[in-house]
Protein backbone atom coordinates (compact mmCIF):
# COMPACT_ATOMS: atom_id res chain seq x y z
CA UNK A 1 0.00 0.00 0.00
CA UNK A 2 1.25 3.42 -0.86
CA UNK A 3 1.32 6.45 1.34
CA UNK A 4 -0.39 8.52 -1.29
CA UNK A 5 -3.74 6.86 -1.86
CA UNK A 6 -4.67 5.49 -5.27
CA UNK A 7 -1.48 6.60 -6.91
CA UNK A 8 -0.96 3.32 -8.78
CA UNK A 9 -4.17 3.80 -10.69
CA UNK A 10 -3.23 7.31 -11.68
CA UNK A 11 0.26 6.25 -12.65
CA UNK A 12 -1.23 3.66 -14.99
CA UNK A 13 -3.50 6.26 -16.54
CA UNK A 14 -0.60 8.68 -16.99
CA UNK A 15 1.37 5.97 -18.70
CA UNK A 16 -1.52 5.14 -21.00
CA UNK A 17 -2.07 8.76 -21.96
CA UNK A 18 1.62 9.17 -22.63
CA UNK A 19 1.53 6.20 -25.00
CA UNK A 20 -1.43 7.80 -26.72
CA UNK A 21 0.52 11.02 -27.11
CA UNK A 22 3.43 9.06 -28.60
CA UNK A 23 1.11 7.45 -31.12
CA UNK A 24 -0.36 10.84 -32.08
CA UNK A 25 3.17 12.11 -32.57
CA UNK A 26 3.90 9.12 -34.78
CA UNK A 27 0.76 9.77 -36.84
CA UNK A 28 1.59 13.44 -37.32
CA UNK A 29 5.19 12.65 -38.17
CA UNK A 30 4.12 10.16 -40.80
CA UNK A 31 1.34 12.26 -42.29
CA UNK A 32 3.16 12.32 -45.64
CA UNK A 33 4.83 8.91 -45.56
CA UNK A 34 3.97 6.93 -48.66
CA UNK A 35 6.35 4.05 -48.20
CA UNK A 36 6.47 1.62 -45.28
CA UNK A 37 8.21 -1.73 -44.67
CA UNK A 38 4.82 -3.46 -45.06
CA UNK A 39 4.32 -1.72 -48.41
CA UNK A 40 1.84 0.99 -49.21
CA UNK A 41 1.38 4.28 -47.44
CA UNK A 42 1.51 4.72 -43.68
CA UNK A 43 -1.67 3.79 -41.88
CA UNK A 44 -2.90 5.86 -38.99
CA UNK A 45 -2.48 4.05 -35.67
CA UNK A 46 -5.16 4.13 -32.99
CA UNK A 47 -4.66 3.34 -29.30
CA UNK A 48 -7.29 1.51 -27.34
CA UNK A 49 -7.30 1.32 -23.56
CA UNK A 50 -8.36 -1.49 -21.29
CA UNK A 51 -8.82 -1.74 -17.56
CA UNK A 52 -6.28 -3.42 -15.38
CA UNK A 53 -6.96 -4.61 -11.87
CA UNK A 54 -4.53 -3.21 -9.32
CA UNK A 55 -4.45 -5.28 -6.19
CA UNK A 56 -3.33 -3.39 -3.14
CA UNK A 57 -2.38 -4.60 0.29
CA UNK A 58 -4.96 -3.61 2.85
CA UNK A 59 -7.26 -1.78 0.53
CA UNK A 60 -9.95 -2.25 -2.05
CA UNK A 61 -8.60 -3.37 -5.41
CA UNK A 62 -8.98 -0.63 -7.97
CA UNK A 63 -9.13 -0.66 -11.72
CA UNK A 64 -6.29 1.05 -13.44
CA UNK A 65 -5.90 1.48 -17.16
CA UNK A 66 -3.34 0.27 -19.63
CA UNK A 67 -2.91 0.36 -23.36
CA UNK A 68 -4.86 -2.62 -24.65
CA UNK A 69 -3.57 -2.47 -28.16
CA UNK A 70 -2.41 -0.29 -30.99
CA UNK A 71 -4.26 -1.00 -34.20
CA UNK A 72 -4.23 0.47 -37.66
CA UNK A 73 -7.02 2.64 -38.97
CA UNK A 74 -8.25 0.78 -42.06
CA UNK A 75 -9.92 3.68 -43.88
CA UNK A 76 -8.39 4.20 -47.33
CA UNK A 77 -6.05 7.12 -47.80
CA UNK A 78 -6.64 10.04 -50.08
CA UNK A 79 -5.62 9.68 -53.75
CA UNK A 80 -3.60 12.65 -54.95
CA UNK A 81 -2.65 13.28 -58.55
CA UNK A 82 1.11 13.83 -58.56
CA UNK A 83 2.90 12.10 -61.46
CA UNK A 84 6.35 13.31 -60.32
CA UNK A 85 6.07 11.40 -57.06
CA UNK A 86 8.26 8.27 -56.92
CA UNK A 87 5.39 6.26 -55.48
CA UNK A 88 2.86 7.38 -58.07
CA UNK A 89 1.00 4.65 -59.92
CA UNK A 90 0.85 4.44 -63.72
CA UNK A 91 -2.16 6.76 -63.67
CA UNK A 92 -0.17 9.39 -61.73
CA UNK A 93 -2.15 8.94 -58.52
CA UNK A 94 -0.41 8.65 -55.16
CA UNK A 95 -2.17 7.11 -52.18
CA UNK A 96 -1.40 9.34 -49.21
CA UNK A 97 -1.63 8.14 -45.58
CA UNK A 98 -5.08 8.24 -44.03
CA UNK A 99 -3.86 10.70 -41.40
CA UNK A 100 -6.14 13.66 -40.88
CA UNK A 101 -4.27 16.40 -39.11
CA UNK A 102 -7.44 17.85 -37.61
CA UNK A 103 -8.25 14.51 -35.96
CA UNK A 104 -4.71 14.20 -34.72
CA UNK A 105 -4.76 17.65 -33.16
CA UNK A 106 -8.01 16.84 -31.39
CA UNK A 107 -6.50 13.57 -30.15
CA UNK A 108 -3.42 15.45 -29.03
CA UNK A 109 -5.40 17.95 -27.00
CA UNK A 110 -7.58 15.20 -25.52
CA UNK A 111 -4.54 13.20 -24.46
CA UNK A 112 -2.88 16.27 -23.03
CA UNK A 113 -5.97 17.26 -21.04
CA UNK A 114 -6.44 13.73 -19.77
CA UNK A 115 -2.82 13.72 -18.66
CA UNK A 116 -3.35 17.02 -16.86
CA UNK A 117 -6.46 15.68 -15.16
CA UNK A 118 -4.54 12.70 -13.85
CA UNK A 119 -1.73 14.95 -12.69
CA UNK A 120 -4.15 17.01 -10.67
CA UNK A 121 -5.36 13.78 -9.06
CA UNK A 122 -1.78 13.13 -7.99
CA UNK A 123 -1.45 16.65 -6.69
CA UNK A 124 -4.66 16.45 -4.69
CA UNK A 125 -3.80 13.02 -3.27
CA UNK A 126 -0.49 14.42 -2.09
CA UNK A 127 -2.20 17.45 -0.58
CA UNK A 128 -4.58 15.14 1.26
CA UNK A 129 -1.65 13.20 2.71
CA UNK A 130 0.07 16.40 3.78
CA UNK A 131 -3.13 17.71 5.35
CA UNK A 132 -3.43 14.48 7.29
CA UNK A 133 0.10 14.98 8.59
CA UNK A 134 -0.90 18.49 9.66
CA UNK A 135 -3.26 16.96 12.22
CA UNK A 136 -0.38 16.68 14.65
CA UNK A 137 0.54 20.35 14.46
Amino acid sequence: MNLIAGIDVTAGALNAQKTRLDIVAQNIANAQTTRTPEGGPYQRQVVSFETELVRREGGASLQSVKVGGISADKTPGQQVYNPQHPDAGPDGLVTMPNVNLAYEMVDLITASRAYEANLSVVKNARQMAMKALDIGK
Binding site: I7, K18, G136
Partner: protein, 109 residues
Protein backbone atom coordinates in the same frame (compact mmCIF):
# COMPACT_ATOMS: atom_id res chain seq x y z
CA UNK B 1 6.03 0.41 -6.40
CA UNK B 2 6.61 -2.77 -4.42
CA UNK B 3 9.48 -1.59 -2.18
CA UNK B 4 7.36 1.24 -0.90
CA UNK B 5 4.71 -1.08 0.44
CA UNK B 6 6.06 -1.85 3.85
CA UNK B 7 5.50 1.32 5.82
CA UNK B 8 2.03 0.46 7.01
CA UNK B 9 2.84 -2.50 9.28
CA UNK B 10 5.84 -0.60 10.56
CA UNK B 11 3.83 2.47 11.33
CA UNK B 12 1.19 0.33 13.01
CA UNK B 13 3.77 -1.42 15.17
CA UNK B 14 5.31 1.94 15.95
CA UNK B 15 1.97 3.14 17.18
CA UNK B 16 1.33 0.12 19.38
CA UNK B 17 4.89 0.24 20.66
CA UNK B 18 4.57 3.90 21.39
CA UNK B 19 1.46 3.63 23.43
CA UNK B 20 2.27 0.29 25.06
CA UNK B 21 5.11 1.36 27.40
CA UNK B 22 3.72 4.79 28.15
CA UNK B 23 0.93 3.83 30.60
CA UNK B 24 3.37 1.68 32.56
CA UNK B 25 5.74 4.61 32.82
CA UNK B 26 2.91 6.62 34.23
CA UNK B 27 2.29 4.03 36.98
CA UNK B 28 4.04 4.20 40.32
CA UNK B 29 5.92 0.90 39.88
CA UNK B 30 6.66 1.62 36.24
CA UNK B 31 10.36 1.23 35.44
CA UNK B 32 11.04 -2.19 36.94
CA UNK B 33 7.78 -3.64 35.55
CA UNK B 34 8.70 -3.05 31.88
CA UNK B 35 10.75 -5.86 30.40
CA UNK B 36 13.27 -4.67 27.80
CA UNK B 37 11.39 -5.23 24.56
CA UNK B 38 12.62 -3.99 21.20
CA UNK B 39 12.54 -0.36 22.12
CA UNK B 40 12.07 2.91 20.33
CA UNK B 41 15.41 2.55 18.63
CA UNK B 42 14.48 -0.46 16.56
CA UNK B 43 11.07 0.88 15.67
CA UNK B 44 12.60 4.17 14.62
CA UNK B 45 15.29 2.34 12.69
CA UNK B 46 12.62 0.46 10.76
CA UNK B 47 10.78 3.68 10.02
CA UNK B 48 13.91 5.39 8.82
CA UNK B 49 14.85 2.37 6.72
CA UNK B 50 11.46 2.49 5.01
CA UNK B 51 11.78 6.19 4.28
CA UNK B 52 15.29 5.61 3.03
CA UNK B 53 14.01 2.82 0.79
CA UNK B 54 11.44 5.14 -0.71
CA UNK B 55 14.08 7.75 -1.36
CA UNK B 56 16.32 5.14 -2.96
CA UNK B 57 13.44 4.06 -5.21
CA UNK B 58 12.81 7.66 -6.22
CA UNK B 59 16.49 8.19 -6.88
CA UNK B 60 16.74 5.04 -8.99
CA UNK B 61 13.70 6.03 -11.06
CA UNK B 62 15.01 9.57 -11.56
CA UNK B 63 18.35 8.19 -12.58
CA UNK B 64 16.71 5.90 -15.13
CA UNK B 65 14.81 8.86 -16.59
CA UNK B 66 17.91 11.04 -16.70
CA UNK B 67 19.96 8.32 -18.35
CA UNK B 68 17.24 7.78 -20.91
CA UNK B 69 16.54 4.18 -19.83
CA UNK B 70 12.93 5.00 -19.12
CA UNK B 71 10.60 7.65 -20.44
CA UNK B 72 8.41 7.56 -17.38
CA UNK B 73 8.98 11.02 -16.03
CA UNK B 74 5.76 10.94 -14.04
CA UNK B 75 6.75 7.72 -12.26
CA UNK B 76 9.92 9.35 -11.04
CA UNK B 77 8.16 12.51 -9.88
CA UNK B 78 5.45 10.46 -8.16
CA UNK B 79 8.13 8.40 -6.41
CA UNK B 80 9.82 11.61 -5.29
CA UNK B 81 6.55 12.90 -3.89
CA UNK B 82 6.01 9.61 -2.08
CA UNK B 83 9.44 9.89 -0.57
CA UNK B 84 8.69 13.46 0.43
CA UNK B 85 5.44 12.49 2.14
CA UNK B 86 7.14 9.59 3.90
CA UNK B 87 9.90 11.89 5.06
CA UNK B 88 7.38 14.41 6.38
CA UNK B 89 5.70 11.61 8.26
CA UNK B 90 8.99 10.51 9.75
CA UNK B 91 9.73 14.07 10.87
CA UNK B 92 6.25 14.27 12.35
CA UNK B 93 6.80 11.06 14.33
CA UNK B 94 10.15 12.36 15.54
CA UNK B 95 8.56 15.66 16.59
CA UNK B 96 5.93 13.79 18.54
CA UNK B 97 8.54 11.66 20.26
CA UNK B 98 10.65 14.67 21.24
CA UNK B 99 7.56 16.51 22.36
CA UNK B 100 6.46 13.68 24.63
CA UNK B 101 10.00 13.34 26.01
CA UNK B 102 10.14 17.04 26.82
CA UNK B 103 6.70 16.82 28.36
CA UNK B 104 7.95 14.06 30.64
CA UNK B 105 11.08 16.01 31.52
CA UNK B 106 9.01 19.01 32.51
CA UNK B 107 6.86 16.89 34.80
CA UNK B 108 6.94 17.88 38.48
CA UNK B 109 8.13 15.06 40.69
Amino acid sequence: MSPVGSINPLAASALTRLDAPLPKVGLANGPQATPPTDGFGQVLDGLIATVDGKQATAQALTRQVLLGDSGQLHQSVIAMQEASVAFSMMVEVRNKLVESYQELMRMQV
